[in-house]
């Protein structure tokens, strides 16, 4: 279901479900009450589960802890097994040995017991980080033309766009776009920096991101005696209104390298200014009176008025965001990943050896461990080194 549309759109698209959608806030489901309640229940569940299992997991990391064999654990003992050789093989694989009356217990990766709790903790930290981010976040979007300044008085600095440029490939397509800015702070020298996509700028506590760009063009309307009635900068898709004759000038688009499609639609082949044209639509008293394709400075004659566009410049679109929760999210992700490594690769392993029994104990991978210890037992019978262990 599309998110964030106006209520009318849901009524039009889903007439029988629109009431339910709006009541349950499914038009913005990830910030709805239902979603937050489910998230809260998930966190409570995760915390409860972790608190329940953590004490016993910590106990199991004790060197003396002996794991219980599975009911269907395979007996790997073979008559003639040399316990010393098996012990040596296990020690080579960094198992620690706990001697017993009738044999020994070899253990490895005892701290793997707490792997799942570390994973859970990581997820909890991520969720906490996202909540902190949502509560304290400050974000927005703004456009700047070269020379424009955007102030952030609450943070004590301003950002001035010194230059904006496009990087082109040989075929004329845009490779990257660059905003050269200066950070202006009272009593401090200006600090210059360049942003591009994937290269944000950090000005504590905000981060600035290169998001978009576009063209802005200078509109001029003059009367028969060359008196300027209206001068204004319009972006593509914007319009200006002239009160005198109730005329609306709508800039459909600026096309730096203009062509026209087979369907008669204006199109720019590249963003390089090679063949600039403007597509302009005029309305009077709300009625369409004409559509025009004109070159820079070429006037559109409408009665005693002349309408023209020129001096198109690129403007930059920047997003700013403050997110205190992000550090928590990264820390939580690292914890979660560490927990998963503990759970799946550094999981606890134990081999219990007596005079007439060899059994492997592990919850995670008894099949794989049995497969490998079986080989070690066979080597311990013949005295061969087992090089394939833990491949």
């Amino acid at each position: 279901m599309p998110q964030g549309l106006a209520a009318e759109m849901y009524i039009e698209r889903y007439p029988s479900l629109a009431n339910i959608i709006m009541t349950l806030q499914f038009d913005h489901v990830y910030t709805s009450v239902v979603f937050y309640v489910l998230l809260a229940l998930f966190v409570v569940n995760l915390v409860g589960c972790t608190l329940k299992i953590l004490p016993s997991q910590i106990q199991r990391t004790n060197k003396e802890y002996i794991m219980s064999p599975r009911n269907n654990a395979e007996e790997l003992y073979q008559p003639g097994l040399n316990q010393d050789l098996l012990r040596q093989s296990l020690q080579k694989q960094r198992f620690s040995i706990l001697e017993k009356e009738d044999g020994f217990v070899a253990s490895k990766h005892r701290f793997g017991h707490i792997g799942s709790s570390i994973t859970h903790l990581g997820i909890i930290v991520i969720i906490i980080g996202s909540i902190i981010g949502a509560v304290f976040a400050d974000e927005g979007y703004f456009n700047l033309m070269p020379g424009d300044v955007k102030s952030f008085p609450e943070y004590g600095f301003a950002l001035r766009l010194d230059d904006f440029s496009l990087g082109f490939r040989e075929n004329g397509t845009v490779e990257q776009y660059y905003s050269k800015v200066s950070v202006l702070k009272a009593d401090q020298p200006d600090k210059e920096a360049t942003l591009w996509v994937n290269q944000p700028l950090a000005v504590s506590p905000l981060n600035f991101y290169q998001t978009s760009y576009g063209w802005a063009s200078r509109l001029k309307i003059v009367n028969g005696s060359s008196e300027i009635l209206l001068a204004k900068v319009l972006r593509n898709g914007e319009s200006a209104f002239l009160q005198d004759n109730h005329m609306t000038v709508y800039l459909y688009g600026f096309y730096p390298n203009f062509t026209i499609t087979s369907e008669g639609q204006p199109l720019t082949m590249t963003e390089e200014v090679k063949n600039p044209h403007y597509a302009v639509i005029l309305y009077e008293f709300g009625e369409h009176v004409g559509s025009y394709i004109v070159e820079p400075g070429q006037p559109i004659e409408r009665g005693e008025y002349q309408i023209s566009f020129q001096d198109s410049v690129l403007y930059t679109g920047l997003t700013y965001r403050k997110d205190f929760g992000y550090a928590f999210v990264v820390a939580g992700s690292l914890l979660m990943f560490l927990g998963l490594i503990f759970s799946f690769y550094l999981y606890p392993k134990q081999v219990q050896v007596t005079s007439n029994s060899v059994k492997v104990m592990t919850r995670q991978n008894p099949w794989g461990m049995t497969f490998q210890v079986k080989k070690m037992v066979e080597s311990a019978m013949t005295g061969e080194e087992n090089a394939s262990w833990n491949k």
Binding site: N198, L340, F344
Partner: protein
């Protein structure tokens, strides 16, 4: 340059043929219990993998980057990841019959890749980041592992419909082996998928200002991750091994396929440039 493109496409086609023949050989190996066909299948898979790797290297030379930026490139890399995971498993444990269930998946994904436009386009600004290689590289391995786990789960399910006396003569792995191997491969794929999501979030923060935006690709990756999380929890805490675990592995892989193909073709979002 044109010669490189010619050789890349030729090697891609030869690799596709090798994978197709390998899938057929493995099928004959399992259905008719012909050991030789199993060995031929492994040989064809290995040769196909080498040729496929050469095709990918040529594409890297042509484009000057790893092949991770559109649907064709991901599909061919995905197939490469599936075959890599299968070969690692095969050479570690020598379980030839697994190929009968994994190589058909590789064949299907490679077939899908062969139908997509292969043109090389320069990277759009948002993709010009080293995170691309880590994010998509881990996805290739993760998805490959899930494909292998689904193949193993399918092999397990075949066991359920085999008579006991047939099972003893079968070239298939034992049911228990399929079950455990499938789980281990899922555990590996899950770890990789976690990396996919985490690296994607860090990259999104640098490129789009937000580490998570509930984009359809992100949401479906999370759904896939949750499905495999449930699988792992049920396995440990509810003893869900065998049949339910096998079905879970298959459903998880269907979710992977939807995240890869369905989301790119049906749902618009921040990742739409992939389609």
């Amino acid at each position: 340059m044109e010669q490189i493109i010619f050789w890349e496409e030729t090697l891609f086609t030869v690799a596709f043929i090798a994978y197709t023949l390998a899938a057929l050989s493995f099928f004959v190996h399992v259905a008719l219990k012909k050991e030789l066909m199993g060995k031929i299948g492994v040989l064809l898979t290995s040769a196909g993998f080498v040729i496929h790797t050469a095709a990918i290297i040529l594409r890297v030379i042509e484009s000057g980057r790893l092949p991770f930026s559109n649907q064709f490139e991901f599909a061919t890399s995905f197939t490469w990841g599936i075959v890599l995971c299968y070969l690692v498993l095969h050479y570690a444990y020598r379980f030839t019959a697994v190929g009968a269930f994994v190589m058909p998946i590789a064949f299907l994904v490679m077939g899908y890749a062969s139908m997509l436009p292969k043109t090389i386009k320069p990277l759009m600004p948002a993709l010009q980041s080293n995170w691309l290689y880590l994010h998509v590289g881990t996805a290739v391995i993760s998805y490959g592992a899930f494909a292998v786990s689904a193949g193993l789960a399918a092999m397990y399910l075949i066991h359920l419909y085999q008579k006991k006396d047939d099972e003893s003569k079968s070239s298939l792995l034992t049911a228990e082996t399929c079950d455990y191997l499938s789980y281990r491969v899922i555990a590996f794929g899950y770890l990789m998928l976690t990396l996919v999501i985490v690296t994607g979030a860090i990259w999104a923060k640098a490129a789009w200002s937000r580490y998570w935006a509930w984009d359809p690709k992100e949401t479906w990756s999370l759904i896939t991750w949750l499905i495999y999380s449930v699988y792992l929890h049920l396995r440990f805490h509810r003893g869900w091994t065998g049949k339910p675990a096998a079905w879970f592995a298959v459903i998880g892989f269907l979710c992977v396929i939807f995240t890869f193909i369905g989301v790119n073709t049906l749902l618009a979002g921040l990742h739409s440039y992939l389609s």
